[in-house]
């Protein structure tokens, strides 16, 4: 890809042609021709992206943890031709089905499913959004309703931070402000947002790219979907500010195919913003923004795998360094930021980095949106300042007593997060405090494991997820997850000694990316709890 050629995403093009009715091979040949990628290479890579092979014309049943706890298996058994999805992002109203037209059906009962499918345009309402101990920052619009229409968003101040930053003319000042705010990336790793931007801005490349990572695959988390659907301008403004800061003229929002409504809302919002010359080539800061829908791989939430998927490669993570900030999409310096991360940025610039940093702890500044699934008494999204004890977040945010009478425990941060017993929740909600205690915040989803839940089945579910979503590139994770699954089915469940434990240990210590290193952790936690329950 030269410095001036337009970016071309083979699989996005393939998906568009397929949606328009083209045969797979014909669409593949066309995508190969335009991209210059040999057709056989593209075909082989496509085989790693389930949507490209299966197409999008079968219903998808959410097999995320919340839905699994709410009877997704029975639901799946009642639908003949359906694919599993991890996950559809409506964990607050499990179980969920996505029909072939992109309609979302929540709180599905197997018996009522046929009637639900007949409803042409199901429109689940927005999740319940509150704050706890802070003012709303990332949920500043979400909490008040639907701001996807440009008029509503602008009346609420959208794009003013961008306009002021561009008028001030100093991308470096934007980076300085974000660095000073102390914001850390919300995708899970918690890397400093401003530091990432600075690393990219300081490269010598002639072409840089900003990407919003809307591949929120963690079962239990739905804040990104909610932001994309109800505050898309907040996300786009954050992305434009990122692009401005790093001298990018091109930006991409990668939205997973499991979120068709989010992608549609975003596309509509982008079109409105372009028409108003707030974004696009004719904006004061010219920026070409594209929305690309994903292809059904959880691992594309990992930034190098996301980039690989855009480039027409297999959905696989690759080693870092080089980090995407040096060599990212098609080799150009690239910043990949999580949607929630970006949705904070305009607020930080509007209100000042110090106002943001006033929330939270020294290590984890600001606030975090926590998602509560249907197992809590108060499902929905609660924005909290970093530093609150997790048990308080559960008690007052989820309105659920954090004890063994109520809960076996909670799953924090999805399948790469942690399983915590109620008594272990006396830990500050803070990237580093959690890490010190052996846990991961992940993307901040909380799934309640109610008292009496079948922990063995839940472990089986997480192991299946691990094996099915492993990208297949590195040996410990590819072979280890398959071995763990087989061993578990043979009855091996000891997380501390024996072959099963060793296999998990190989994954944790030697895997290429965080997926293989982290997915065994909640499984170990569940199995330890199981051993305690069945001595």
């Amino acid at each position: 890809m030269g410095v001036s050629a337009p970016l071309f995403f083979p699989f996005a093009h393939l998906a568009v042609l397929r949606a328009a009715g083209a045969e797979f091979e014909a669409a593949l040949a066309e995508a190969a021709r335009i991209s210059g990628i040999p057709v056989a290479r593209l075909r082989a890579a496509a085989e790693s992206h389930p949507d490209l092979i299966a197409g999008l014309d079968t219903p998808r049943i959410c097999r995320g943890t919340s839905c699994e706890l709410s009877g997704a298996a029975a639901l799946a058994a009642s639908v003949g031709s359906a694919r599993p999805a991890y996950c559809l992002g409506h964990c607050d109203r499990a179980p969920v089905v996505l029909d072939a037209r992109g309609g979302v059906h929540v709180r599905c009962e197997p018996r009522a499913l046929a009637a639900a499918f007949a409803d042409a345009t199901p429109t689940p309402s927005a999740p319940r959004v509150r704050t706890l101990g802070c003012e709303p920052i990332v949920t500043r619009r979400l909490i008040r309703g639907d701001f996807s229409a440009l008029g509503d968003a602008r009346r609420d101040g959208a794009y003013q931070a961008l306009a002021r930053a561009v008028a001030a003319g100093s991308p470096a000042a934007v980076i300085d402000a974000v660095v000073r705010s102390g914001e850390r990336g919300r995708g899970g790793a918690g890397f400093g947002t401003g530091e990432k931007w600075r690393a990219c801005a300081s490269t010598s490349g002639a072409r840089r790219i900003a990407i919003a990572n809307g591949d929120e695959g963690d079962p239990g988390s739905f804040i990104d979907r909610a932001l994309l659907e109800y505050d898309p301008h907040g996300v786009l403004e954050g992305l434009a500010l990122c692009a401005y800061a790093i001298h990018a003229r091109e930006a991409i929002v990668f939205v997973r195919s499991e979120y068709p409504r989010a992608a549609a809302c975003l596309e509509r919002a982008l079109a409105e913003a372009e028409a108003a010359h707030l974004l696009g080539e004719r904006a004061p800061f010219p920026l070409a923004v594209r929305v690309v829908r994903g292809f059904g791989s959880y691992v594309c939430g990992e930034e190098t795998a996301l980039i690989a998927a855009l480039e027409g490669k297999r959905a696989e993570a690759r080693p870092r360094p080089p980090f995407p900030t040096e060599s990212g999409l098609f080799g150009f310096p690239t910043v990949v930021n999580n949607v929630e991360t970006l949705a904070n940025v305009a607020w930080i610039l509007e209100r000042g980095p110090d106002a943001y940093a006033a929330h939270g702890t020294p290590a984890s500044r600001g606030t975090k949106a926590i998602c509560f699934n249907a197992g809590f008494r108060a499902p929905g999204i609660v924005e909290v300042p970093f530093g609150l004890p997790l048990c308080d977040v559960i008690e007052f945010g989820g309105e659920t007593p954090c004890n063994r009478d109520e809960l076996e425990g909670v799953l924090l941060g999805g399948p790469m997060g942690s399983f915590l017993r109620p008594e272990a929740c006396d830990v500050a909600l803070d990237f580093d405090a959690l890490r010190s205690a052996g846990h991961e915040l992940g993307h901040g989803g909380l799934v309640a494991i109610p008292r009496g839940a079948d922990l063995a089945a839940l472990a089986r579910h997480l192991i299946a997820f691990m094996a099915e979503e492993s990208c297949g590139r590195c040996t410990p994770c590819r072979a280890g997850s398959a071995r763990a699954r087989a061993l578990y089915e043979r009855g091996e469940r000891n997380p501390d000694v024996g072959e099963f434990a060793e296999v998990l240990g190989v994954m944790e210590s030697a895997s290429l990316c965080a997926f293989g290193r982290a997915t065994p952790r909640p499984i170990r936690g569940l199995l330890a709890a199981l051993a305690e329950a069945q001595p």
């Binding site: 890809m1 030269g2 210059g36 040999p38 056989a40 290479r41 075909r43 082989a44 890579a45 085989e47 790693s48 389930p50 092979i53 791989s297 691992v299 297999r314 959905a315 690759r318 080693p319 870092r320 360094p321 098609f330 080799g331 094996a467 099915e468 979503e469 492993s470 990208c471 297949g472 590139r473 590195c474 040996t475 410990p476 590819r478 072979a479 280890g480 398959a482 071995r483 060793e502 190989v506 944790e508 210590s509 030697a510 895997s511 290429l512 290193r517």
Partner: protein, 856 residues
Amino acid sequence: MTAWIDGRPLEPRPGETILRAAARVGIEIPTLCFVEGIAADGGCRRCVVEIAGRDSLEAACHAPLSDGMRIATASPRLRALRARLDAFQCDAPPEPRCDESHPYLVFDAARCIGCRRCVQVCDEIPGRSVWQVAGPRDAPRIACDGPGLLRASSCVACGACVDVCPTAAITDRDRRDAPAPERRVRTTCGYCGVGCQLEVGVAEGRVVRIDAVQSAEVNRGALCSKGRYAHAWQRSADRLTQPLLRRGDALEPVSWREAIAWVAERLTAIQRAHGPDAIGLMTSSRGTNEAAYLLQKLFRVRFGTNHVDCCARVCHSSTALALAQVTGTGAASASFADIERASCLVVAGANPTEAHPVVGGRLLRRARSGVPLLVIDPRRTEIAEAATLHLALRPGTNVLVFNALAKLLVERERYAADYGASRCEGLGALATFLAGISIEAAAQRTGVALPQLEAAAELLASHGPPLFVSGLGLSELTQGVASVRALANLALLTGAIGQPGAGMLPLRGQNNVQGNADMGSQPAQLTGYQAVSDPAVRARFASVWGAEPPTHAGLTIPEMLEAAAAGRICALWIQGEDVAQSDPDERHVLQALERLELLVVQELFLTETARRAHLVLPAAGFLEQDGTFTNGERRIQRVRAALPPPGEARPDWLVARDLARELGLDWHYDSPADVLDEIAEVAPDLFGGVSMDRLDENGLQWPCPDRAHSGTATVHATAFVRGRAQFSIVPFLESPEAQVPGYPLSLITGRVRDHYNVGTMTRRTPQLSLAADDALTLNPRDAAPLGIADGDTARVESRHGSATARVEVSERVLPGTAFLSFHFPETHANCVTGPARDPESKCPEYKLTAVRVAKA
């Protein structure tokens, strides 16, 4: 700044991985998927190491070593983990499938452990994507890009994947059942002008395998199918093993003593009867420098003739002459390593992925990694498909395209003005000339649209000085010299010549065509391009040779053949060249050969030319002799005998020496090294520092004037050999083969990947199963109205003659253009080509003949 690996302190270097740093202090960390020289795949994790203070492990192949790290590479924990990973690696579901479809490669999927080394190396070395990771995420498998089978894949049989496969899932058919080599000999490949370094394995008196020398600067571990596999000619049953003397219609075996005595007597008699100018010599570009040097010396000093020429005449003579006019020397200014340094690439009139596969793969990979590439070629070759921009011009219109691009660069002030002013001359005159030409007219005549010309000029001007890779598509035209001079204008306007990663890199065809001309196998130049007309030069040669070479320039190959046909040349000595098959206008060549009183041919096989000889001398092939070859980047490399020649066949340099002794000369060379020392002595500017003992590793690139000199990668770096480079005014002239009424198609002749020139060697190897015949390529728009379908046989006819070949209907040629290879004698491709040639270089016009085609 210190880190410790297994307790050993070392200083971290920026960007250095733990694996590399460990190797630096002698610690070997086990790896599996890692391939040296390729960015780490990082998938197998076998190289994980412990870093003190971290719970998780890091893969040494991609984790950088940083200050203060304390690393353990071989703890009991790691050993146990690696054992587990080895077991994990073999978890892939067994696929009991063995692909035996390919003549050289076998893929046994049941042995594959999915390490992906083949995938990495195929992307990297031949620049292809034959091997894929396919299948769903939880069951990835390795597959080739053919529909199921390797034979149908895009594999070019370079063998790179075999070299890296850890489980022998991919193997070489030729060495599967072969004995282990008893000895291995490093030598230089005898096929094309790239000069790849080979390691030849010998057992039971034959070649059992050929591998690439991994450390070689030229090929960096890569080979093509010819270099790696096509060695069966060496033990072919029809090798010439005895001198053959014509008695009547028959060629009868004689002893060497008898043959040498006979030919010494005949040559002496002819010289006495008809004078020195009745004798001519053509030296072989397949032979060694030492053989070419001794033969031209013998004919010059003993027979007094300058009718000495080589096949460079019929390939790159135009390039050499043009570059000598422009810069002062006719060879490449750049080196192959510049391909990796270049920020912009131009390939003009060359098809490197077929004709020079190792270099072609490197160009392909650079293009695919995003380096801007401009291809100027009438055919949509593989490299053209990978190009940023392909100008598909009509054959024979190079000059118009290059002039148009020069005009755009000059008039838009997109040229290197400082370079033009300080290092060149003639820019003002060029600008005046260009002002008078019409770009619109050029677009009209060349078939390249104006916006494409503008985009090409912009590409040339936008990425730093380009590297210009050119081929015979420029040289083998009546405007051959003109084409190269016009291309050189672009190189000077972009400030390319003499810059690293830029300049002129003509791809030489034969393994030693560069060396053959260097040695003085040219009618007007002695060894080292020293003019025969210069008295000082002649005096220097006389002081070494004991006799002065003749003063007037001799005849070129086409002129010698003409003189032979006219009876003015009576004796011709041809070393290893099949002029009857390879030279244009075949009928005329045969007439010339038939008229000779004496035709001596040194050959491996009884070729079309040899069967017409009076004396045939059996020669040693490149696997059977010592000496040196010089590749297309001026690199003089060693050739070492892996085997003795069959029967009584002998290296050509020995034949030249013994003939000289028979003729009473006191020649006492005991080895090619002695000859090379004399070459250094007669041409000290280029070769003064060259001697056999200095060539062991990567040879030496000339100019290398003294023993302290390490050779020259970039010529003209500080000053041009001729002082200032010369911008050329190059008017376009139509070829006599252009727009001939009744002959609507323009025929290009050339090579295909699987064969080499007249096919003498490759047709005697399994290459034949990759390509069994010559093919005439026609565009569907030309084929359809003629009722010709793919696979039909067609007759192609020019004003000079005709040939018959199988037709390949393909978009690779433009409408109005056809392509024919010349590897098989039965095709008689050169019955079609005509007598037209460049007026200055005398290079024949192989690349343009007006033809018509009919279904046969």
